[in-house]
Subunit: 484 residues, 2 copies
């Protein structure tokens, strides 16, 4: 056995971690790689039927020109270079926030490692934010873990929950369409992915019957233990109703499932009549029978909402009803990686403790935040409206988050011509080559057999988004004609 | 089977990921938790035989009062709040660096996600730095991956390499004493830890005979595929000779092992006659027989050296001779977490592309860097000298890194009195309670059966370090007396 494999590389695709091989990640897949190539070609002067690539493939607001919140960046600059604390150009409230954060850092430097669970005073800010958000329901800072983006928290909780072999292997229920971090993490951990389908006909709502169906089918071959929900939804842009959340909690309690609530878009709600209801709040409003038993982890991030600060990799999770011994294990586990990035923690402190009425930066903060959210709401509406004028494209209302996930009708002949390529990948690749528009095919997120979609962010600036939607309309009409 | 476990929690220590349970992490273990508690008690006015806790348990320079490099923080402030680019207070070279970094960011904001492998121009800076460090040996930016601290890179490579079951399970050779990230990651991944012992009698050097012994023993029960080296060493503070590195590479080639070189302390070399030799450089100097075959991953970090910027979680790895298909898998894998923190990437750009002669910030940069490294060298020497004046403590020279790992002789009766507690844990806990000094017991890093050690950083300010060493001396003498 020693001689075997002694030639060639130690590490090959045949001798590497098989779970890693199974991981798929469409948001940065072949379409995006080709888009990067095309950008290079354009720079080198290669002639194309367009002048620039428009990236509507990823929820990255700043990359699409959204401006950061001034106050946040002032405090971050002060924390980075505290000499600026003597500078009159910075408002007093920004300085106070910076002083408070620095005081909580080892050696008063954001260059020191923090406690692994996160800086104490930041966890306190987070817990007050949650209490305020949820109408006063208590939040214990001990239940808050700061993370390296929400991604990190989600993977960490899934890791804790993954165990067993064969038919006792942990099964994790995720919505289809899904955000592909989930399928990727499950593949990597070797957990069993259990698909439940969102109801496209009812605006991507979540049916308890469908949860029940998928759970029962899964029980034949694994041990379902976790139910993941993304609300507001990525890639589908829906906002779940309070009633639906209550039903989901009841279902989790009845079926003995650990709930993971991905609530990174909690400020991104646009549609009339929709509101964000946190799982935590609904759980506690359902009374002690539920609030003292149902295990819940909820995730938030600095990457989304009105701030869109993706590059800082700030995030937190709140764990509720977690077994104290497991919590100790969680704390130990996160300590191995030392700590989440401190600038991201500082940013999370600002997101959860922004300027208050009466403070010098309040008016500007509110103006910037409101403008960004209003702009997103307007683009959400515009996207839905324009897409629905195209025969062969049908788009649910973009109630929240940053995406539309329209269904597209593809002619039979296009499906044939795709020659084994997934048809919506074929469609999106052609769209990219002909128009420079970069979208992600629906197949990257999962979709009902025989249906096709793409995901498009609503993040490009209004005029660019409008141009893009017009081009997309033309493309779709031409594509349909060509293959009919 | 459904009813089973339907009472009580979904997630308990009995139903959680068993690998996670096996993880141990001493650097933030019970001693440190007790130290945090004691700090709180002191604040609350509880009387103790000391006024403050001195933390010499973790390599966190800023927390111990080391000042950041001015230039680095200026650029980070400019990147955070680009309005400052109009401010005359900032030197031109800082502004140019900030402009260059911002230009490479989506939407010119460090709040945008970067490419998953890291920002292009930062990877170019890193590659030029490596070429310069290694006397001109070529470095391809495509082989550079930016990471969330070195920790992230190390775990990612170990993950790729872990495969097989039972006797074919991947075995990973690590030095004992080790930095406990390694044992923790191996436990989590379910890989087999293979211990090779550093030679304490020869200043913690690495003997090829010992590598051979441990490899052969391991082949009885797993498939050894990886050899990890930390140079300069944590926790042992040694700097390996060029000859030793060559021998290790030869050994890896002969035994078909993937090499992981943890070189995060590459600037931290203090002892006369010692120098840092990168594995990459030695590999290429050994000629194409080795340089075109031996697979190597090397890790670096913004956390150590003269900058000590731990909180930013900046890091990179260079992969050499990695199978292209595996590299594609690696790129896919890192894309799931989107990207490393962008401020940490910016910092890595500065570390690898600092002010150059002729630029306005050059003189101050060199002065600050030199002062910090000289100060560390002086404290390394002082630590060794004072510890070696204590009967029952024997300390190897602190040739590099930031730690001493002295051997302590514990009286028989102390070992008995520890009552099942590991004796050096008993010793360190008593030290903490009586003097406020926080060290990590040797058992947290691994040590030869029957020997006892502690790890102490050399990071406290000189006067505090001196006081600490004096107190430690008194404590050791008293402890020895008490238990003799
Ligand atoms: C639903 C959802 N969860 C989690 C994340 C991860 O975000 P981050 O890791 O940047 O916080 C995203 C990012 O797009 C997301 O859409
Ligand atoms: C040998 C060694 N490797 C890796 C690390 C991880 O450092 P970071 O993740 O902060 O880059 C450390 C930190 O102390 C270390 O000592």
């Amino acid at each position: 056995s020693r001689a075997q494999g002694c030639e060639g590389k130690v590490l090959t695709v045949d001798t590497m971690n098989a779970n890693v091989k199974k991981v798929e990640y469409a948001v940065r897949g072949p379409i995006v790689q080709r888009a990067v190539q095309i950008e290079k070609e354009l720079k080198e002067g290669v002639k194309k039927p367009f002048n620039e690539v428009i990236k509507a493939n990823i929820g990255d607001a700043h990359a699409m020109g959204q401006q950061p919140i001034t106050f946040f960046r002032q405090v971050l600059a002060l924390c980075s270079y505290p000499e600026l604390l003597d500078d009159n150009k910075f408002p007093e409230d920004a300085k106070n926030r910076a002083r408070r954060i620095l005081k909580a850092c080892g050696g008063s430097s954001i260059g020191a490692y923090s406690a692994s669970q996160g800086i104490d005073c930041v966890r306190q800010d987070v817990s007050r934010y949650i209490e305020h958000r949820d109408g006063g329901i208590a939040c214990d800072p001990d239940n808050i873990y700061l993370t390296t983006g929400a991604s990190d928290g989600i993977v960490t909780i899934l890791k804790l929950l993954t165990t067993g072999e064969g038919r006792t292997r942990t099964g994790v229920m995720i919505s289809i369409p899904q955000y592909p971090l989930y399928s990727a993490a499950l593949a990597e951990l070797g957990a069993v992915q259990i698909n439940y389908y969102l109801n496209e006909e009812k605006c991507w709502s979540l049916d308890i019957d469908e949860l029940q169906r998928s759970l029962e089918a899964a029980r034949e071959h694994c041990r379902p233990r976790v139910l993941c929900i993304i609300n507001p939804g990525n890639p589908t842009g829906q906002v779940q109703s309070r009633q639906c959340i209550e039903d989901v909690i009841r279902f989790a309690a009845k079926e003995h499932l650990f709930l993971m609530a991905d609530e990174v878009y909690q400020d991104n709600v646009y549609a009339e009549g929709c509101a964000f209801h946190s799982f935590k709040k609904v759980l506690f409003e359902m009374g002690p029978k539920f609030s003292s038993t149902v295990e819940l982890a909820s995730f938030h991030s600095t990457s989304k909402c009105y701030m869109g600060e993706c590059g800082f990799r700030g995030g937190y999770m709140e764990v509720i009803n977690m077994d104290p011994e497991v919590k100790a294990q969680l704390t130990k586990l996160v300590s191995v990686r030392l700590c989440p990035p401190v600038p991201g923690q500082a940013l999370m402190a600002l997101v959860t403790n922004p300027p208050q009425p009466g403070e010098p930066s309040y008016a500007q903060f509110i103006a910037e935040k409101t403008a960004t959210l209003n702009n997103l709401a307007q683009k959400a509406k515009m996207t839905e409206e324009i897409l629905n004028t195209v025969p062969g494209i049908r788009c649910n209302p973009v109630q929240g988050a940053m995406y539309s996930f329209p269904r597209i009708t593809l002619p039979e002949r296009a499906i044939k011509d795709a020659k084994g390529q997934v048809p919506d990948m074929f469609y999106c690749m052609k769209l990219l080559e002909e128009t420079g528009i970069c979208l992600v095919p629906g197949s990257g997120f999962g979709q009902k057999e025989g249906t096709f979609h793409f995901r498009m962010t609503i993040l490009p600036p209004t005029d660019k988004l409008q141009t893009m939607l017009r081009k997309l309309k033309e493309f779709h009409q031409q594509f349909t004609q060509q293959y009919s």
